[in-house]
Symmetry: C2
Subunit: 298 residues, 2 copies
DNA sequence: AATGGTACATGCAATTATGCATGTCATGCA
DNA sequence: TGCATGACATGCATAATTGCATGTACCATT
């Protein structure tokens, strides 16, 4: 029996399985077959001489030793990510993948044209778009560039402000007509689960209002508005660019967080992220009026 | 082309090659064939898209990027070593390898019997002895236990003092006879390269003395003394246990650093290191007189 | 009780990685 | 100049790893 040695990729596999809880989940994360995950775990356990996981009916559960091993593997992953970020930041080629994340509803009308232009300008670069309303972890390289709605780029990220924005009230034409015909009619609001009340600014404008439905998904919420189920407060770019919605006077336009493009400082100088920003920033700067209530200076 | 992914074992291979400077050296360190090292380096360079090494006639030389990658891989290795130390410290089995390092000349007469007993007591444990006068890096797991000559265990290590010791002057019987026959005769010293002068205590006892030869290897130096080339200051246990050497009055016995057994704190509690200490400590405690000048309390 | 879905275990075939053998090149020494 | 040594490159055979297919088990739902 030799001195204890574990393949580093087996440690990575242990980490993936601790995180995922199942062979299939870990295999997806690693890009290998789930039977490969099972065999690597067996190999790691043989090398270490201790069980790292209990095999349960509904998946693998890490033992205390398994969690300890995963903690160290996570620290190794931090080093790998730091290295890869530096490599990306130094990468002056315009070929290979560029991972961009943005909220789903911002991609179609605004990122779409930029991606189209970018792809024509730089055919060797493959944009990989990760639509997500969650903030992906740029330190862990879940994306290279992120378009975010926030008030600042974030303490650890480098960013550029794309434009300011407002929210306003939008509804289907039928709902809009009913509101216009009867200024005293009750307003049915469809609200987002994170702020499940009638907006304060809306109550000031039209007090006779109630929350009719609460949604936890913005796409579905927009669909509900299109279907005439009520009034939705949404960013003005979204209301204006969604067919079947019109702005209604249920709430005056409100200030909202800005739109930013951000990246990890290590990645920011890379040629690919820079090339994408070179097209993105002018595109947004040319269309800032779409995002705010008045066509004056923002 | 996918998002950049590098096998972690390939990163480990990059680190080994930066350290070794040649494919063969790296292969030795990793326990794989040198052609495997070459292919893993090619694989890593393909995955990253940048050359990590220049191929020179006398080996591989890391580029700046190669060194950066190796730095991160070294940090990953620190994590691996911390994990493995914890695993070893928690290991309550008495099977598998135990790596012990000690100065060459201490092994034969003193560790040999302990190793013999230990191996009989615990046949499932395989001692792996690394004879070295250099201090191996216990944090990097170059050894599990170290027998060292020093004044303290070291800031980051856990240790037990085995015994005190003195040095004295030893020579061949012929040289000893010449010294005894003529108290005014010049003394030829053979000295160690780190302190290449006649010992001050020797000059006080016999001022007519000179450095005849300087050695950088203790084993060779002992051999030179046996061959009658001069007087050597050495630990008393060594002089006493080496055939063909006798103590000579060229220098009174001098205080010298103690002998310790040390380990990394994470590894110290493990069953194997503890079992070895359980035999080692009594063995030395029973023979402390071998190491000092007088048979009184040390 | 039956069914569908999810998860894991295992044997076999395919793919990938590795080691060996051979050849080439550069360098230092006699 | 010739030889020995050390280093790397490459093709081929072998060994190891991986993915696929099949089977079993468990749980939730109907």
């Amino acid at each position: 029996m030799h001195v204890m040695q574990v393949d580093w990729d087996d440690l990575k596999t242990v980490l993936a399985l601790v995180r995922a809880g199942s062979l299939a989940g870990a295999g997806n994360a690693l890009g290998v077959n789930y039977t490969t995950v099972a065999r690597r775990i067996q190999r790691a356990e043989a090398a270490i001489g201790i069980k790292l996981f209990e095999r349960l009916a509904d998946g693998y559960r890490a033992t205390e030793t398994g969690r300890m091993v995963a903690d160290h593997a996570a620290a190794m992953e931090v080093e790998q990510d730091a290295m890869l970020r530096l490599l990306q930041g130094q990468d002056q080629t315009l070929s290979g993948a560029l991972v961009i994340t943005a909220p789903q509803l911002l991609i179609g009308p605004y990122l779409g044209p930029v991606l189209d232009l970018f792809s024509r300008r730089h055919p060797q670069v493959r944009p990989w778009v990760r639509a997500s309303n969650d903030l992906l972890d740029l330190r862990r390289r879940e994306a290279d560039l992120a378009i975010r709605i926030s008030r600042a780029p974030g303490d650890t990220l480098t960013g550029l402000r794309l434009c300011a924005q407002n929210t306003a009230a939008f509804a289907s034409p039928d709902v809009a007509r009913r509101i216009a015909d009867d200024p005293e009619a009750a307003i049915d609001w469809i609200v987002y689960h994170q702020t499940p009340e009638v907006p304060a600014a809306a109550l000031a404008a039209r007090p006779n209002a109630r929350v009719r439905m609460v949604f936890d998904d913005m796409v579905a919420m927009v669909g509900a508005a299109q279907a005439g189920l009520g009034v939705v407060r949404m960013p003005m770019f979204l209301g204006r660019s969604t067919p079947g919605l019109v702005q209604v006077p249920a709430m005056p336009p409100q200030p909202y967080a800005d739109i930013w493009v951000v990246a990890h400082p290590d990645v920011w100088p890379g040629a690919k992220p820079k090339a994408f920003r070179d097209l993105l920033v002018p595109h947004f700067r040319a269309r800032w009026r779409d995002f705010v209530a008045t066509p004056g200076p923002g």
